[in-house]
């Protein structure tokens, strides 16, 4: 199954004061005013502190494959929220939405992560979170 990528830049009306959070470490890296959606195949699950990451191979609009790095909460928080270390495996098809890196790189701060084959949902940052 070929993977597709949809990049949709949306202005999010979060109802928060942007200047108040403009210097957050995460928001220094990721653009809180964007929402990017990718579909792809998991190539690595980095289930660690200080932040867990999932690497995904995505086929872009030119038909080329590229690796995306997606980032979510620390492992300890994932454990407490029910994302076990072996829930997600290399080879799984996933759909991820998140905030893209400000430098335009293939990096996302995860907001949602879903495995369509069985409906499993991982733990992403809440949309109004600045952590």
């Amino acid at each position: 199954m070929s993977c597709r990528i949809f990049q949709v830049i949306l202005t999010l009306c979060l109802g928060i004061s942007v200047p108040a959070f403009a210097h957050h470490s995460f928001l220094a890296h990721y653009d809180e005013d964007t929402s990017t959606r990718i579909e792809g195949v998991v190539t690595e699950v980095w289930y660690q502190n200080p932040h867990a990451r999932v690497y995904v191979e995505v086929t872009n609009n030119d038909g080329e494959t590229e690796i995306w790095e997606t980032e979510t909460y620390p492992r300890n928080i994932l454990i407490r929220r029910g994302w076990r270390h072996d829930d997600l495996s290399v080879g799984d098809d996933v759909v991820i939405t998140g905030r893209q890196a400000r430098n335009g790189g293939n990096r996302l701060q995860i907001i949602t992560i879903i495995r369509p084959s069985d409906g499993w949902e991982g733990v992403g940052f809440s949309v109004d979170s600045i952590d």
Binding site: H23, H29, Y55, E69, R80, D131
Partner: protein, 225 residues
């Protein structure tokens, strides 16, 4: 002689009553302090209650702006343990071991340990600054007051809020809701970076889960490697 001997038990009894009358009221003030022992989790995470515009001095504002210009400075993202206030602001549980002479904080985040001395000692005059600093404490009624100095210079939150080694930190812990929650009022006094002391209030809830191990593994951004 015989009369004096006869009155001796009475005199002893009167003396004992006088002693008890003098001492017992004071003993009542020496009742056991509130019990903070056990695990606690922050109710407010690190995103609530911290000022975005504290009363910076020019030097403090410069340090904050320098941090904003280079956000990679957040040490925890590279698995470097945080300074004390950064630890307190982090969204992880901690455990307290309470003894008469010492209260020990065991923070899950980065396995940091902090000892608060209640044995009447003062801060050492020649303490070398460390991440946790040197803490002494005492009871004011039902409030545990913790006084900390000699903290290494650093940033209090992932968003910044710098402090120098001149930081003087006062924490006031009180139990709420029959001991099921606790409140922390933390006062930051660092005249080099802030024109006046300022405070933040946090609340915690009893945590009925285990404190977890915390391995930290730095990862360079090398997708696919």
């Amino acid at each position: 002689m015989c009369e004096a001997y006869d009155r001796a038990p009475l005199l002893v009894l009167m003396g004992l009553l006088t002693f008890m009358a003098a001492v017992l009221p004071n003993l009542s003030f020496a009742a056991d302090p509130p019990d903070f022992s056990g695990a606690w989790d922050s109710e407010t995470w690190s995103t609530v209650g911290w000022p975005t515009e504290p009363p910076y001095t020019p030097a403090g504002r410069f340090a904050q702006q320098a941090y904003e210009a280079d956000p990679q400075d957040d040490p925890t993202q590279n698995c470097i343990p945080p300074v004390l206030v950064h630890q307190i602001s982090a969204p992880f549980p901690h455990e307290i071991i309470q003894q008469e002479h010492r209260v020990t904080f065991l923070y899950e985040n980065f396995h940091q340990v902090r000892r608060v001395w209640l044995d009447g000692r003062d801060h050492p005059e020649d303490a070398y600054p460390t991440l946790m600093g040197h803490s002494i404490g005492w009871w004011e009624g039902d409030t545990l007051v913790v006084d900390t100095r000699s903290v290494e210079a650093g940033y209090m939150r992932p968003q910044g809020l710098p402090h120098t080694e001149s930081l003087h930190l006062i924490e006031r812990y009180t139990l709420l809701d029959d001991g099921e929650r606790k409140q922390l009022v933390i006062t930051i006094d660092d005249p080099e970076y802030y024109r006046e002391p300022w405070s933040v209030t946090k609340t915690y809830i009893r945590f009925n889960e285990d404190i977890l191990d915390y391995d930290c593994v730095p990862r360079l951004h090398l997708p696919g490697k």
